[in-house]
């Protein structure tokens, strides 16, 4: 008897709730999403803006001047992540995982850029303040997807998705929801994805450039130099190695010893010993900073003293020491003390004004986080101009964006558009370690765009 009672009541309850819910469930999602609104704080950031230089505001326009052919549209309608006044941007970054060493300063750099936009330009289009919402992926696809779901209904786009596994994980969701995302890495691999907006030079081009430079221009070596490579076991290491191997083939040298390493490796005795035994005179480092430091220390121990030729992620000024003397690196950004680059002068000034209280020094990672937002800013300006901040509106704005001016912050300007119209940047600057040139401890030696880049197919 009780059995029956139990079964029947369960069924009744279930169906009653089912019926009740069916009628009201359609709009409940949106209200759940808007709960997440955080208090706007843009206006009370009492940063000392030096309003004494109105002339400066001209060169501040880092956004590409539009063609003037488009008629200004009406005000954009509210859309996910845009309530009519404030634009919200999602950031999927690593705040507590293995890449926090990159993720934290990248977000800080981005925040500095938007503080500047909010404070000095009055926001996007001069009227829409921008807010950042970050999600911690811990560099793990599972957390990344969850954080993506949390932020997506409250972000007009994802202005930073750090590291490859999270990008790969959320890519399908981005496509499905038609949301634009900015991958924080691997510009080459993502150039062909319509919803992704890569930034800066691809690692493939960086490696081609530094190899070309080393063999032909540096005066440090030539095709006869014994050249070797250490790459990290992930997609970044793989594509960097692919570019390097292509360059080696074209330039006519062999990679005598090829080693790989894992993140979190603590012992490089065997790696260094193998490179030493192979007689390597120059070693390409497609690595990550902490492990690179460890490897350099081990090299010093074994008296192995080659020329190191690194990709951007292999170097972090914070972890570079006296044993980095023969360390060269291919970067996108100019010398931090190069006052001839207007964008760099702006960056340092804005860094000073809006940096966090912790008293950080500018470095490449802050810088990357900052300059990556220039393209996002241009995209948002375009969307506002077209009067549509919805997902479709932004995707549409991307196809019409064209070249984004960075005021010299990148070695070359990226031309955006539909995937087939994009012209990725391929130039790099080559730097050498220089302890006397703070804050980034690097001095620029060359700016080049290897001719070999034209023959290399990205993502191939």
């Amino acid at each position: 008897m009780t059995k029956k009672l139990w079964l029947v009541s369960a069924l009744l309850l279930t169906f009653a709730l089912f019926a009740a819910a069916c009628g009201s469930s359609d709009d409940s999602g949106d209200s759940a999403g808007s709960d997440t609104t955080e208090p706007t704080d843009g206006s009370d950031t009492t940063a000392p803006t030096d309003g004494t230089e109105p002339a400066d505001s001209g060169s501040d326009a880092t956004v590409a001047p539009d063609d003037g052919s488009v008629e200004p549209a009406g005000d954009p309608e509210p859309a996910p992540g845009f309530d009519g006044e404030t634009i919200k941007l999602g950031y999927l970054t690593d705040e507590s995982g293995p890449l926090a060493i990159l993720g934290v300063p990248l977000t800080t750099g981005s925040q500095i850029y938007w503080d500047y936009v909010n404070e000095e330009l009055g926001g996007v289009g001069g009227r829409y303040q921008v807010e950042l919402a970050t999600g911690d992926t811990k560099d793990d696809p599972s957390s990344a997807v969850q954080e993506y779901q949390r932020l997506k209904d409250d972000s007009v786009l994802f202005a930073q998705i750090l590291s490859t596994p999270p990008t790969q994980a959320v890519l399908e969701f981005l496509k499905e929801d038609n949301i634009v995302g900015v991958p924080g890495s691997l510009a080459g691999t993502w150039a062909n994805e319509a919803v992704l907006m890569p930034n800066g030079a691809a690692y493939e081009y960086e490696m081609i450039n530094i190899a070309d430079w080393f063999v032909n221009d540096s005066g440090l070596g030539g095709v006869d130099t014994v050249q070797c490579v250490v790459s990290v076991n992930d997609l970044y290491g793989e594509v960097g190695l692919d570019g390097l191997e292509y360059a080696a083939g074209e330039l006519g040298f062999e990679l005598t010893e090829k080693r790989t390493m894992n993140r979190n490796d603590t012992d490089f005795a065997a790696t260094v010993s193998a490179l030493d035994q192979a007689g390597c005179e120059a070693v390409y480092a497609i690595t990550v900073p902490r492990e690179q430091s460890t490897m350099m220390a081990e090299a010093a121990t074994q008296g192995f003293d080659p020329i190191w030729l690194g990709a951007l992620p292999s170097y972090l000024s914070l972890l570079a020491g006296p044993n980095f003397e023969k360390f060269y690196v291919a970067l996108d950004n100019p010398d931090f003390n190069d006052t001839s680059v207007p964008g760099m002068v702006d960056f340092l000034e804005r860094f000073e004004t809006y940096k966090p209280d912790s008293g950080a020094e500018p470095n490449s990672f802050f810088f990357s986080g900052y300059y990556q937002q220039i393209a996002v800013h241009a995209l948002l300006e375009k969307a506002v101009e077209l009067g549509d901040l919805s997902r479709e509106g932004i995707a549409n704005a991307m196809t019409q964006l064209g070249e984004v001016e960075t005021d010299g912050l990148t070695a070359e300007n990226y031309v955006y558009g539909a995937p087939e119209d994009r012209i990725p940047t391929s130039a790099s600057r080559i730097f050498v370690y220089d302890p006397d040139n703070p804050p980034n401890l690097l001095t620029e030696l060359a700016l080049l765009d290897s001719e070999l880049n034209d023959g290399y197919e990205l993502g191939g």
């Binding site: 390493m261 035994q277 902490r290």
Partner: protein, 297 residues
Amino acid sequence: MDKFLQLFVSGVALGGIYALIALGFVVIYKATGTFNFAQGGFVLLGTYLTYQLAVEWEVNFYLSTLIAVLAMAGVAMLIERTVLRRMMDQPAFTIILVTVGILLFLQQLVPIIWDEPGLRFANPWLGEVVDIGGVSISHANIWTVVYAGVVFGAFALFFKFTRTGIGMQAAALDQEAAAAQGISVARSFQVSWAIAGAVGVLAGVMLTARGGDALTPAIGFVALRALPAMILGGLDSPGGAVVGGVIIGVAEVLTAGYLEYEWLGANFSSVVPYLVLIFVLLFRPSGLFGTKEVERV
């Protein structure tokens, strides 16, 4: 041959670090009969503390290490007093899990106190190398081995000649009997934890010195790689921990240097400690130098 010697020396130095961490494991195992996963937390927190003193506050490097050693001994004693003391009669796995919880807690203190996700912790030995018979050895590696040796020696003397040490040996064998002899079991627990905290600092500092001075929270995980060293040597044998550490360190480095088969995969050496461990355990379940356990019905 040069290559072999070079790798061997490097392996011994790596083993020295494993040994230092394993000694921390062993001393607590001797007292309580369980693993202390919080050891990784001692390594991590102790190293950051040393960094704070030596780099931020510009205290002499060796003095900083000493202060951090004492401080971490204190922290470890505090943890023992507030948490573990109450857990003495619990099953082993419960205590293991408590120490895991403490590890997770200690790991989170680092990003709270030290905002920067990466730091540079300059040590006095960077780049200093001696050449002995064609093998170059860094000063950092020599210091690692010296530290491991000194700590091991101090252990041996402490357990043999001091009242507390002898008491701890007795308590490890039979808590009730020891208590009946007037030996304070609680006190021997406390001393064990203090020692574990102290050696953790040395291990972390040496690990960072070896890592080109790059200090990131990831060093807390290295303690996990010392677990095989501890078990290999025998859970309750300090000497075993040293031998086990060196075996694991050398095995790891030599595999990385010589074993290059595609099908073994990149970085095969990182799982070598665990494979060595399982292999040894299958034949000698109590490790190389450990006490045999007798199962009571």
